[in-house]
C-alpha cells in the first residue's frame, strides 16, 4: 500500500476508534517507580487508590490511556479532569485540517498548532500518546508530507 493510503487508513482509524494499547508496566523499572511513588502520595484520593489496586490486580497490564492520565495528572501536574479528556485532546488534533502529518517509522506524528499539541498514532490507528511538544521537539520535526486537509482531499 502506498504511503499516503497507509497514513489515511491509520489516521482514519484513530479518528473513529478510541483505542489505546495495553501498557505492560514494569513496577521495578526506575521511571515506573517514580510514577508509582508519586501516585502513592495521593492514594488517599479515591481514584488514585483504586488505580493502584487495579494495577496490582491486573499485574501491571493496564490501558495506556489510564496510565497516561494518572501519570500526567499526579506526577506532571496536568490539570486533566478525566481519562476521556485525553481522547478529547487527541480528537482536537485530528480535527484540525491544518494539522501536519509526519511519518516516523511505523508511526505518525500529527501536529496541530491550533490545539498546541501533537498526537502520535501507530499504523493500526492506536493512540500512542498526546502532549505539548517542546520548542526543541518542534525544531527536530521534519517537513510534513501532508496536512490533514491535503491527506484526505
Amino acid at each position: 500500500m502506498e504511503e499516503r493510503s497507509k497514513a489515511r487508513q491509520a489516521i482514519g482509524e484513530a479518528r473513529h476508534q478510541r483505542v489505546w494499547p495495553v501498557s505492560r508496566i514494569k513496577p521495578q523499572g526506575r521511571m515506573a517507580q517514580h510514577t508509582l511513588d508519586a501516585l502513592r502520595d495521593y492514594r488517599h484520593i479515591p481514584e488514585v487508590g483504586a488505580f493502584l489496586n487495579e494495577l496490582i490486580s491486573k499485574q501491571y497490564r493496564i490501558d495506556s490511556r489510564l496510565w497516561h492520565y494518572f501519570k500526567y495528572k499526579y506526577q506532571w501536574d496536568d490539570p486533566l479532569r478525566s481519562p476521556e479528556e485525553l481522547d478529547e485532546r487527541f480528537e482536537a488534533v485530528l480535527r484540525d485540517k491544518d494539522a501536519t502529518v509526519h511519518p516516523i517509522g511505523e508511526r505518525y506524528i500529527i501536529h496541530s498548532q491550533l490545539a498546541g499539541r501533537w498526537a502520535i498514532i501507530d499504523s493500526r490507528g492506536f493512540r500512542i500518546t498526546v502532549y505539548r511538544p517542546t520548542e526543541q521537539d518542534l525544531e527536530n520535526l521534519e517537513t510534513p508530507l501532508w496536512t490533514i486537509a491535503t491527506l484526505f482531499a
Binding site: R30, M31, G105, E106, I120, I128, T134, Q136, L141
Partner: protein, 113 residues
C-alpha cells in the same frame, strides 16, 4: 501540586518518562546533551543518574523504539552514549564507555542474541 523534581532536568525527564516510555523522544538526545554542558549540583547529578538509568532500561526492554532514536551520530564521542542508542540497543556498544552506574543495566549479549 508542585513539580517534585529538579527544574533544570525537567525537559530531559519528560523525554524519558513520557516519550521514551512509549518508544519516542524526538528531543531526548538534545535534552541530554544540554545537561552534559551544565555544572549540576550533587542532587541534580543523582537525579540525572536515575533518569539515565531509566532511559537505558526502556531502551533495552521496550518492544518498539522509534528508528530515529536508533540512528546514531558517529561524529559524537562514544562517552556521549545518548548519541549511540542504536548500538546500545543492538548490543554493539563498548560497555567501558558507559558510566559505571549504567553498566549493570546494559546487557549486550541478550540484545545481540
Amino acid at each position: 501540586m508542585d513539580y517534585r523534581y529538579s527544574v533544570r532536568l525537567k525537559n530531559y525527564r519528560w523525554q524519558v518518562d513520557t516519550a521514551l516510555e512509549v518508544g519516542e523522544g524526538l528531543s531526548l538526545r538534545q535534552e541530554r546533551e544540554k545537561l552534559a554542558a551544565l555544572d549540576l549540583s550533587a542532587g541534580e547529578r543523582a537525579e540525572l543518574a536515575e533518569i539515565d538509568a531509566g532511559a537505558l532500561e526502556f531502551l533495552m526492554d521496550l518492544d518498539y523504539v522509534a528508528p530515529y532514536l536508533l540512528a546514531d551520530d558517529p561524529t559524537q564521542p562514544l562517552e556521549y552514549w545518548w548519541w549511540h542508542l542504536g548500538k546500545l540497543r543492538a548490543g554493539h556498544y563498548p560497555a567501558e564507555y558507559l558510566p559505571e552506574h549504567l553498566r549493570p543495566l546494559y546487557r549486550p549479549a541478550a540484545r545481540a542474541a
